[in-house]
Amino acid sequence: MKKRVITALCVLFWLTVWQLGAMALNQKILLVTPVAVVKRLAELVPSIDFWSSIACSAGKILLGFAMGLAAGTGLALLSGKFSAVRQLFAPLVSVLKSIPVASFTILALIWVSSKNLSVLVSFLICVPIVYTNMLEGLDNLDPKLKTMAEIFHIPPWRRFVGVYLSQLLPYFRSASGLAIGMCWKSGVAAEVIGIPDGSIGERLYMAKIYLETADLFAWTLVIILVSRLCEGIFTALVKLMVKRVERM
């Protein structure tokens, strides 16, 4: 409780600094006040366009994230099993980790339409994060538990859940938590470059073109909130899965 009060006070402090700074600057194009941002957000929320933009971006970013989770996990399993696959993918994963999002996006625009750009970018961002974490989990599997399972003749499904999944889930949880936030950041950045119709990225771009700074801040706030919401929901689902596995 005390921690929450302190956090709230810190947030309030920075909001005050922002408000006073904007008032002192008195240039709405450069910096709007938080009150103006909230007002603009209140105007945006009732419109259908607002929700359709969120749905459009969220759908694509989350699709890329889900595909990245599946591909990253699958590849990690293959690399954990076959060292040749690990060696084959090592340079690719290393490159994927270090390429800037902007380069990805411009390159991806050549391959796919701007409509599906955020799916591809989220996917490419998600894969190396999940792959690296899951592979670390696989490398840290306790081989003595395998012997234990053999001695007790634990059936395959129970062995998979109890022995392997229980050891891998903490890695999956941290990988997915990190990846979902990164997917939102990079997905929206890709949309700003590709400007697909009806996306949050397009809204941000338009706000920049027409110097509507309040819109820019309002949409940024929306991105943060939606990203945190997605992360919260997904983390809760994984937590539920962890609890079920823990209790078997």
Partner: protein, 188 residues
């Protein structure tokens, strides 16, 4: 079915640990294997269990075995009762598992993750898992290691009661454990 070890030899590099070990571990009796640290007790147990292949010699043992390993080999992220169910399946209800946990001084620990337990509690959980598994031969590698004297006594009594008439091979270097548990003692 007896456990029969015939002329077992096992070496690690130049270190010859077992040299022509032979013994018949009688069905339905508890055999303690004693000896100083590093004399090959755990190696012998691993060979008897089939975890370690001997360099030469033969072991015959029943198909269904259970064990308390030198390390606990519990799944740290699972609860205590999940660790037991991992081995026993649905043979015991939650209530039955809770009752057995209570007898070993682990009352209320059924839903605790193993990583949250102390060393002694983990040891008891590992022992309980081994005792509740279906087996024809039980292998115990210093099963009471890390338990304080009071707990050790009650856990040993529980163990003795639950292994009566079973084939057990127990490795220990504690003479007291040996006298309390074993029908037969062999020295390495």
């Amino acid at each position: 079915m007896d456990i029969v070890a015939s002329d077992i030899c096992k070496a690690f590099g130049n270190n010859e640990v077992l040299n022509g070990f032979s013994h018949v571990f009688r069905e339905g009796s508890v055999t303690a294997v004693m000896g100083a640290s590093g004399c090959g007790k755990s190696t012998l147990l691993s060979v008897l269990m089939g975890i370690l292949a001997p360099d030469s010699g033969r072991v015959t043992r029943p198909e269904r075995i259970s064990a308390v390993f030198q390390e606990n080999r519990l799944c740290e992220n699972l609860t205590v009762s999940a660790n037991i169910r991992l081995v026993t399946g649905k043979r015991y209800s939650r209530r039955e598992i809770a009752a057995e946990l209570e007898k070993t001084g682990l009352a209320g620990c059924e839903d605790k993750a193993v990583r949250e337990l102390s060393g002694g509690m983990k040891r008891r959980a590992a022992l309980l898992r081994a005792l509740l598994a279906e087996y024809d031969a039980l292998f115990l590698d210093e099963p009471f290691k890390g338990l304080d004297e009071g707990t050790k006594r009650s856990v040993m009594e529980y163990c003795k009661e639950n292994t009566r008439g079973k084939t057990v091979v127990m490795v220990t270097h504690d003479r007291g454990e040996c006298e309390f548990m074993a029908d037969e003692t062999i020295e390495l």
